[in-house]
């Protein structure tokens, strides 16, 4: 086997020199450049390079500095999970995360789940529980269905207890691992109640249902083990000599799989897929071969492979991934297959931004990010041409350029295997996202035509709904709080438990803001949290989705907040801007909304204040419903 990470770029000659440079900076106690560090970790590492990146990750964990998203991860199991710790650090780096792993002492599962003690002795961002069935198993005599049902219930009870303990003791969600499939004993395994194979399948379905209901998060160890092959996943020698639940050699891969989930939790998954055209979506060159000459569809095996890849791309889109095209082509020529080729599954309407011209790819990818209102880090790029990939990697290291190879039959495996588009159980807002971005690009075009901005806003027929935090809205609220980076004044992250607490606390105002217009239902696009401190209120959190910028949302929302303040007899409202590398777009937010500068703090954050009596309401161009 060549590499665990075929979707990552191969090691270049100067890899070791680049690492040495970063190691030297880290040795001096400084945080090295974020993009450069992420990029050296994100390679097809061999065993020794892997060790080196693990060491770098450990070192960086001790250094203060910006860039990486820090995650304190608890590790809980009834087998030896120690071999995951260092690889999780390395895997995190490749995805922009600094993961510090806190391993519970051996076999503390029951103690953590059912006693009052917290074996982690600290708060965490997530607890990963990897149990094997000896932690779950009740008596299951063969063919005894009732006993099997009972054993599955018992497993559910343990999973619930772990999730509850994670919430109450460490203030974070639990991630529960599915059970790997076992080596087949007979053809009748899953038809035989009481068999191990059948028990594992049922437990995994139970874990999936619980995850869909939001009771816990799930690491699908079973899916990864199947991908690798069960005979390789389970290493009986290591198991019998050291109680290692899966092959130590595979830990870097398992860690990467977990890191993609952590990236999804912290909003670092990719949100848009940028596609090259010639030899990426069809075989041949449309400009040379013409519509009849390109290979797509039933005329060849290669053509079938391109169709299969397009089908996969559409399934990503269905899950909320935004699609864009970046091609060196004449625009009209590049669009022709989308419009006229009968075997193309992808149509123009699926593509939110279509960037076909003769500029270089990096320039065009930058333009795509801008049009979508997304950071470069939210983009993944697929191109069959290794030279183009190499150039984009060099010029835009934050864009995830996937090593898809040149054979379309493997494009799907590589993109799926990369885990770049990993996501938590979906909600309906996620599904609406791709078409909403499409609508957004259309809106940008209409705006150019309309000219008059006020008229343009009115023409959108926007409806804003402000409602307090509630049970139904909480998953999306937590998601927004944890993944909004750009339009986010304080970038304070709160987990599900935090938000639940605020929901019932009279000292807090928690608002979720929905927006719809004639093009799209944007869903929940904003969150505001205010701390009431007597006659003064303090805006703790103000964030908005970048899907709907420059719509007058913040002006209308501030009007509503001030109205609330007036009726509560509040004298002034304070707000704070905490600068990060991503939120410069809101540095003048409070001034634009009529707040006065109140002072600058040592850490660079800036305070603003607004005397309620001085507030001048902003003009409003939408219909507002306040359900508070």
């Amino acid at each position: 086997m060549n590499t665990f990470f075929p979707w990552r770029p191969p090691l270049e000659e100067n890899w070791a020199a680049r690492v040495a440079e970063l190691e030297a900076i880290a040795a001096g106690g400084e945080m090295p450049d974020y993009a450069a560090t992420r990029s050296v970790a994100n390679h097809q590492l061999g065993p020794r390079q892997q060790l080196r990146i693990e060491r770098l990750a450990k070192r960086l964990g001790t250094i203060k500095g910006n860039g990486f998203t820090r995650i304190e991860l608890g590790l809980l199991g009834n087998r030896t999970l120690s071999y995951l710790c260092d690889p999780l650090g390395a895997a995190g780096l490749a995805r922009g995360l600094l993961v510090s792993v806190h391993e519970a002492p051996y076999d503390r599962v029951a103690g953590f789940a059912f006693s009052a003690k917290n074996c982690f002795e600290r708060g965490l961002d997530a607890v990963l529980a990897v149990l094997d069935e000896s932690a779950l198993q009740g008596e299951r005599p063969l063919l005894d269905r009732a006993a099997e049902d009972e054993a599955v219930h018992e497993a559910e009870r343990i999973a619930s207890a772990i999730a509850e303990a994670a919430r109450s003791k460490t203030g974070c969600p639990a991630i529960i691992a599915t059970l790997p499939p076992c080596i087949q004993m007979t053809s009748a395994d899953i038809a035989t109640p009481g068999s191990i194979a059948r028990f594992r399948l049922r437990v995994n379905m139970m874990l999936g249902e619980g995850a869909a209901e939001g009771r816990w998060l799930m690491w699908d160890q079973a899916a990864l083990a199947s991908r690798i092959g069960i005979e390789r996943w389970f290493d009986p020698i290591a198991y019998h000599s050291a109680k290692v639940p899966f092959n130590v050699e595979l830990c870097p891969l398992a860690a990467d799989n977990i890191a993609s989930l952590l990236a999804a939790i912290t909003g670092k998954s990719a949100r848009a897929l940028v596609l090259d055209l010639d030899n990426t979506l069809w075989g041949g060159v449309i400009g040379d071969d013409g519509l009849a000459g390109i290979r797509i569809g039933q005329n060849s095996a290669e053509g079938e492979a391109f169709v299969a890849f397009q089908d996969f791309v559409l399934r990503l889109r269905e899950r909320g991934v935004v699609l864009a095209v970046c091609s060196k082509n004449t625009d009209a020529v590049a669009r022709e297959p989308f419009r006229r080729h009968p075997d193309m599954l992808l149509k123009e309407e699926h593509i939110a931004v279509f960037q076909a011209n003769w500029d270089d790819k990096a320039t065009n990818i930058r333009a795509i990010a801008e049009k979508l209102g997304l950071g470069l880090e939210s983009l993944a790029y697929v191109d069959d041409n290794p030279a183009e990939r190499e150039r984009v990697r060099r010029e835009l290291p934050l864009v995830s350029t996937i090593e898809v190879g040149e054979d379309p039959s493997f494009f799907t495996d590589r993109v799926a295997g990369s885990g770049l588009f990993d996501h938590l159980p979906l909600n309906s807002d996620d599904l609406a996202r791709a078409s909403s971005y499409g609508a957004r690009a259309t809106v940008a075009e209409i705006r150019a035509r309309v000219g008059n901005y006020e008229e343009y806003l009115k023409s959108l027929e926007m409806r804003m709904t402000i409602s307090p935090f509630d049970e139904v809205g909480r998953p999306r609220i937590v998601q927004l709080i944890n993944k909004s980076n750009q339009f986010n004044l304080t970038t304070r992250r709160y987990n599900d438990e935090d938000v639940r607490r605020m929901q019932g606390d009279p000292n807090f105002i928690g608002w979720q803001i929905r927006l719809d217009d004639k093009f799209a239902q944007h869903g929940t696009i904003g969150v505001v949290i205010v701390r009431k401190k007597g006659s003064e209120w303090e805006i703790d959190t103000w964030l908005q989705s970048c899907r709907v910028l420059e719509r007058g949302v913040e002006q209308s929302l501030m009007n509503s907040l001030i109205e609330q303040a007036v009726s509560a007899g509040v004298v002034s409202i304070r707000g704070r801007y905490i600068p990060t590398e991503r939120n410069a777009m809101v540095s003048d937010f409070y001034q634009r909304l009529g707040f006065d500068l109140a002072g600058t703090n040592g850490n660079g954050s800036v305070d603003f204040i607004c005397a309620i009596s001085q507030y001048e309401p902003h003009p409003v161009s939408m219909n507002i419903t306040l359900c508070v």
């Binding site: 071999y83 020698i237 130590v248």
Partner: protein, 82 residues
């Protein structure tokens, strides 16, 4: 260079990468006791790395029975001859 010396030099590189704080000698007589970072946990990792580096696979019994690097390399040489 004899087979033993060749394998020892490959293994030494792995050991220096894994146990980066150790800068003492690495010989056929070296055992886990000589290297402070080499505990029972990291031993499993080391065995896997050596297996990857030298493209061999040790048996359950062998993994338990190595006295020092010399006896580990004896096992490697035996595998490579068969």
């Amino acid at each position: 260079m004899s087979d033993h010396q060749l394998y020892l030099s490959q293994i030494a590189e792995v050991i220096r990468e894994l146990f980066d704080e150790y800068d003492g000698p690495i010989t056929l007589e070296t055992t886990a006791r000589d290297v402070p970072q080499w505990d029972s946990l990291s031993n499993v990792r080391l065995m896997v790395l050596i297996e990857q580096e030298l493209a061999v696979r040790f048996s359950t019994a062998e993994v338990q029975g190595f006295k020092n690097l010399g006896s580990l390399i004896d096992a490697v040489v035996k595998r490579k001859q068969n």
